[in-house]
């Protein structure tokens, strides 16, 4: 079966096609933000028209990653949405959790809720924590509100009632009532989008889903229609934030779960790149123009966390956005990329970021109006990136403009221009290293043991320096790094991640209830996975539960023992695993009672493998040489430059060296040896 993946990004829409013969083809077109489907349809058409690609359309599987959902939230371009909650809690989205994300900033702001106060409604009802119906649902209170939706221009509704994570009856009845009164309205229920305890986070998650749903539904329908017109029969599979693919119907219903679609696909690809060079545990590092993403991948697969935050009002400041309770690949985003601006701070010290020149005006070297020195300008001045190494030489940059911007900053700091450029480069590497170390610590992993998989425009430029700081011994710069997320789609499994909160103390264990929860989640997940064409006997499950000591505020995800184990053994193994995780994370254990909070089930198929034989002309010709600055030498060194795609497989060469790719440039310092693998990946081993 052939597979064709598209990844809609801000600037480019990337494509990767694995044809019937198992050959890999890549493609890129400019994105069309006004209607992202246009670029997808055009790119798919162009790729399928390539004479060298042989594809049986009737058996072609199309896979997608998209920024439609995340952009709708960031740009606040979703539909007019209503919020229905338990009467008395209509201000929930405004009250938030009453904390601050910055202690010293007196001008602190939060993003305005996606639903106005006037569009927030109370339903007269109340269910207590134990399921007691304190007040029956006053159906008229819902009907009256629903009848007004059409006239007000409301197209989508988020319903989040108290304790609906466990007692969804009133929410379900409200959905039915709204369907009767306003059949064209999209209804998202918290009990189905995010059945987890803690009302504010569940409500924001449901609101984001409702807010983006009509747009995503339209996008999905438009693509399905166009693909059918091309003769493609299978429904599109979409990448969710947790790294599993789901069919179009699910994607259209639960768009919030696609909010980190592209980055998730990138992490899946990194895991696969690692495996193809024999590395199971690794650190994925994707550094682009404005941000970098770091993701620790233990055991060949990214880890999934239930906490995510989007649309930060203050760049990368945790707490300043909308918290989402959806499962997503655990990664950290750092507000530093090639476009990050370097400046002198009030203390007279060098700062890099958080401001970014982005793609426009971009670094000074781009000559597009940017005058502030950026990380890319420093990298050019240090010789890491050549004037001709942008987009395969097709995009010209000006080293003189880069120098001009750096000289100005160096003057204000009272240091030489080289010292300044190296300082910028090194400071960014320092931020990345610290973030990686913290991220690894949170997972109980020693970062020094992890090879670094580097991609993105600036990833391979900075990977060597970061590896040195972290004590990492190996850096891998994959082939095809320019369309990483699209490649991730080709190999990702079909999978759906579901959760349900059922707080339960260990000393009040109800095993029958546990079985009911797990069976329910598995049945729901299996139905979605089967909808993507996975046969029932190929579906596997992975189950975990969020646990903590009674009284602690932080939960630890623990992988579950065999669900069929007898109750006592089940509980014993669960406790053992909790203590094992606890010790790995915090170095000790405490003799205190345990409780479980939220159960999580993944239903899925196995991940695919692709082997992409490299289409290289391996003549190993050196493209030239240039002077490159290395921190450990403290000076510029005349350094050979190679073309990644022309390096012979398996032949070792010593650093210093520069290896140019189409989308990036790999820096190999003097204390390293490198070679290209049979798959075409560049492997750098640090001494």
């Amino acid at each position: 079966m052939a597979k064709l993946a598209f990844d809609t990004g801000g600037t480019f829409t990337d494509f990767a096609l694995m044809d019937d013969a198992g050959r890999l083809h890549m493609h890129k077109v400019l994105s069309t933000p006004a209607n992202p489907a246009e670029a997808v349809i055009r790119g798919v058409g162009e790729l399928l028209a390539k004479p060298e690609a042989t594809v049986d359309l009737s058996d072609l599987q199309v896979l997608g990653a998209t920024t439609v959902v995340t952009n709708a939230v960031l740009e606040r371009k979703g539909v007019r949405t209503a919020f229905v909650t338990t009467a008395g809690f209509e201000d929930m989205l405004r009250i938030r959790n009453e904390g601050r994300y910055d202690i010293y900033d007196l001008d602190l702001q939060y993003p305005a809720p996606l639903v106005t106060r006037a569009d927030s409604f109370g339903a007269r009802e109340r269910i207590a924590a134990d399921g007691t119906v304190i007040a029956a649902l006053a159906e008229d209170s819902v009907r009256d509100v629903a009848r007004e939706f059409g006239a007000k221009g409301i197209r989508s509704v988020a319903v989040c009632l108290l304790h609906a994570y466990k007692h969804p009856e009133h929410e379900q009845r409200i959905a039915a009532l709204i369907q009767q009164e306003a059949p064209d309205i999209y209804v998202s229920l918290s009990s189905s989008v995010c059945p987890e305890v803690r009302e504010f986070e569940r409500a924001t998650t449901t609101v984001v889903n409702a807010y983006t749903r009509p747009q995503m539904a339209k996008h999905v329908a438009e693509l399905e229609h166009a693909f059918a017109g091309m003769g493609i029969r299978r429904p599109v599979l979409w990448m969710t934030s947790s790294g599993g693919l789901v069919p179009s119907a699910r994607a259209a219903d639960m768009p919030v779960k696609l909010i980190e679609s592209g980055p998730a696909a990138g992490a899946v690809a990194a895991a696969a790149f690692g495996q193809s060079v024999g590395e199971q545990h690794l650190l994925s590092f994707d550094m682009g123009g404005t941000t970098a993403k770091l993701c620790v991948i233990p055991n060949g697969e990214p880890t999934v966390s239930a906490e995510l935050e989007v649309a930060h009002l203050r760049r990368f400041r945790k707490g300043s956005g909308f918290p989402l309770k959806i499962q997503s690949i655990r990664m950290i985003e750092i507000g530093a990329g090639g476009g990050s601006i370097a400046a002198r701070n009030p203390l007279g010290l060098l700062d890099v970021g958080p401001h970014s020149a982005g793609a426009s005006p971009g670094p000074a070297a781009y000559g597009l109006g940017g005058t502030e020195p950026t990380v890319t300008d420093a990298d050019i001045l240090l010789g890491y990136m050549g004037a001709g190494s942008f987009v395969g030489g097709s995009f010209k940059v000006s080293p003189e403009a880069a120098r001009g911007a750096i000289v100005k900053l160096a003057g204000s700091l009272g240091v030489s221009e080289v010292r300044c450029a190296w300082g910028i480069h090194d400071l960014v590497n320092e931020s990345m290293s610290k973030a990686a170390a913290m991220h690894a610590t949170e997972l109980g992993v020693d970062p020094r043991s992890l090879p670094l998989i580097a991609f993105g425009g600036a990833g391979p430029v900075h990977a060597y320096g970061i590896a040195r700081k972290l004590g990492i011994k190996r850096v891998v710069c994959p082939a095809g790094a320019g369309v990483t997320s699209a490649i991730g789609l080709l190999i990702a499994p079909v999978a759906v991640d579901l959760s349900a909160s059922r707080p339960m103390a260990f000393d009040r264990w109800d095993h029958a209830e546990v079985r009911r929860i797990l069976d329910g989640l598995m049945a729901e997940g299996d139905a979605v996975v089967a909808g993507a064409g996975v046969l029932a006997d190929r579906i596997t499950h992975r189950v975990s539960v969020d646990m903590r000591h009674v009284g602690q505020g932080h939960e630890i995800a623990v992988e579950l023992p065999d669900a069929d184990a007898p109750p006592e053994a089940f509980r014993t193994v669960l406790a053992e695993r909790f203590f094992e995780r606890y010790r790995a994370l915090f170095g000790r254990t405490i003799d205190a009672p345990l409780e479980v909070l939220t159960w999580r089930v993944r239903s899925g198929s196995a991940a695919e493998r692709i082997d992409s034989p490299r289409p290289a002309i391996a003549d190993g010709t050196q493209k030239g040489s240039r002077r490159v600055f290395f921190g450990e030498v403290g000076d510029y060194v005349e350094t050979p430059i190679y073309d990644h795609y022309r390096l012979p497989v398996g032949v070792l060469f010593e650093g210093p060296a520069i290896v140019e790719q189409r989308e990036s440039t790999a820096v190999i310092g003097p204390a390293a040896t490198a070679h290209v693998t049979a798959e075409g990946h560049l492997v750098i081993d640090l001494h």
Partner: protein, 558 residues
């Protein structure tokens, strides 16, 4: 002699090294926060980790900590820990700790802990942490205490670990004196672990850069920070600026008065004119007061520089001995925040004409309100759990105060669903109160109304902590007062710092105060009045009568 291979004055080196030290404190913070049992530690971030040099001066502090800790640790180290246990009396593996309010942070539940960091055989610095324990013994609800001895166990500075071995005698005494021994010892253990992380990471850092000691780097950090703070102070005119405010206190009004004197790049705050100490637990010790003095000024002058000893050097304060801001050692002080949290608002008021573009109106989140619900479930099991509530932030120069926000502390409230899982209480409403924000060019944030109903068959006691019920939050620069808070049962006002008993089915209505306004009401933009009308933040009546808004609501909607 220290090697000077690294030039600390280099603007790039210093940034890299300094950030690494903050990172070390943050790593320790992570360990402490994730493993602590104390709910106040986790929801309130009521703890801190600090790295100090060999003289006990703060070099780096974890990024997240509330204002009470801005100065406490280094001051405790310099004034008490180091004199009591000089370097020559310490060996590797020693850990020092106390909960004496006079040394630490002004109340008994906070333990202050310091671990010497040895490198190449001598002490190069100290790792410090403070955390709020889940219990410290004493009267179960401290607000009624009339002296500190009713408030719980007090231990002086002791070696809680000696050469790596836990001091079991001391730990046994602590365990025997508290209601939650396992959790309390667990949290002390978390602090020991957090300090150990800082020690380990600092040594690795010194090795990596080939440094013998930390003090040289500390001097560079302190020098830059102090000079930055002094420059910022220098932008203000010299002079003395006074303000006072009246608090509900414990039934009898309390006056806080501050005179802020700006003189040649330094600031001194004198609280002369403040009411005397009282026989209740809201006395606010000098260390706690100073922390809030510094916090308010740092927010105004230099919010960006990561906190360290240099930032606070130019700031001093004093209060009359025996006053509620400088009480005698025997006085009760557990709920000192009910007074101390108002200090930033008071300083803002004093400086309203000096920094009109920075100061806020008084905030309804100062202090935090709390309702501690205690009783027995129908099955006889005991429960006890605290819920917190905040009023609105004061109006600001560029925008309205945020609704229902913790300030100057930083406490996230417990989700209603989580609270209802542990306590048989139904939260019937949790909503914003229209018109509660003090009017102004920028109005104060709104307070909230929360209704708690006892679902159990047994009566339930609710112990309240609150303020600004009789005396509302004040406005600044002509802004008006916010709506005061209110606590009622069956429509009848209850003593806002007392105990209220709810029989089965009875409900308590808690209404937090709105923030004070900023600037003249007449200058409020019509667009903001219209936005408030649309959001229900103000009523049409208030729009007409307070803001003089003449258009009809229907027009405004167009």
């Amino acid at each position: 002699m220290a090697r000077t291979a690294v030039d600390f004055e280099d603007p790039i080196n210093l940034q890299v090294l300094w950030n690494r030290l903050i990172f070390i404190a943050d790593q320790a913070d992570h360990v402490l926060g994730r493993t602590a049992f104390s709910p106040i530690v986790r929801e309130n971030h009521d703890y801190v980790t600090v790295l100090m040099d060999s003289r006990g001066r703060a070099v780096a502090q974890c990024t997240w900590s509330i204002p009470v800790f801005i100065t406490s640790l280094p001051s405790a180290a310099q004034k008490h820990f180091l004199p009591t246990f000089p370097a020559e009396t310490l060996v590797e593996g020693d850990v020092l700790a106390t909960n004496d309010p006079e040394i630490g942070t002004g109340h008994l539940p906070d333990v202050t802990m310091i671990t010497p960091i040895f490198h190449r055989g001598r002490i190069v610095g100290y790792a410090g942490s403070i955390a709020h324990l889940p219990d410290i013994g004493g009267a179960p609800l401290h607000s009624d205490a009339s002296d500190i001895f009713e408030e719980g166990l007090r231990f002086p500075i002791v070696k809680i670990h000696e050469a790596g071995v836990p001091n079991q005698d001391v730990l046994d005494i602590i365990a025997a004196s508290v209601r939650l021994p396992r959790e309390v010892l667990g949290d002390i253990d978390s602090m020991v672990a957090a300090n150990a992380v800082m020690a380990r990471e600092l040594v690795a850092f010194l090795d990596e850069y080939g440094l013998d000691e930390l003090d040289g780097l500390a001097d560079a950090i302190h020098g830059r920070s102090e000079s930055q703070m002094r420059t910022a102070i220098g932008s203000w005119p010299n002079g003395s600026f006074s303000a006072e405010t009246t608090l509900d206190g414990y039934g009898e009004d309390i006056t806080l008065r501050a005179t802020v004197t700006v003189a040649d790049q330094s600031i001194h705050v004198d609280y002369a004119g403040t009411s005397p100490q009282i026989l209740h637990s809201i006395n606010c010790r000098a260390n706690y007061r100073y922390a809030h003095t510094v916090y308010a000024l740092k927010c105004l002058l230099d919010p960006e520089t990561p906190n360290n000893e240099g930032c606070i050097a130019p700031i001093t304060d004093e209060a009359p001995p025996g006053s509620i801001l400088n009480p005698e050692a025997w006085t009760a002080g557990n709920s000192r925040n009910l007074v101390g949290h108002v200090i930033p608002s008071l300083i803002f008021k004093a400086l309203q004409d000096v920094a009109p573009d920075k100061v806020l109106g008084d905030s309804g989140g100062a202090p935090i309100w709390a309702a501690n619900c205690v009783g027995r479930r129908d099955d006889g099991a005991q429960f006890g759990s605290v819920q917190n509530f905040h009023g609105g932030l004061g109006g600001r120069a560029r925008s309205d105060g945020l609704d229902t926000l913790s300030f100057p502390s930083n406490c996230k409230v417990t989700a209603v669903e989580m609270f209802e899982l542990v306590v048989p209480v139904l939260t019937e409403r949790k909503e914003l109160i229209a018109d509660s924000g003090g009017a102004g060019r920028h109005r104060g944030g709104l307070g909230q109304r929360v209704v708690l109903r006892n679902l159990g068959r047994q009566p339930m006691n609710v112990y309240l902590a609150s303020e600004r019920v009789r005396h509302p939050c004040f406005g600044v620069l002509g802004g008006r007062d916010g709506r005061p808070g209110r606590i009622t049962k069956n429509g009848l006002p209850q003593f806002p710092k007392g105990k209220v008993t709810l029989a089965q089915g009875e409900a308590l209505a808690i209404e937090t105060p709105g923030g004070g306004g900023h600037g003249d009401v007449a200058q409020r933009a019509p667009s903001l009045i219209e936005r408030d009308l649309a959001d229900g933040a103000i009523t049409p009546q208030a729009a007409r009568e307070i803001y003089g808004y003449r258009r009809s609501l229907a027009d405004a909607a167009e």
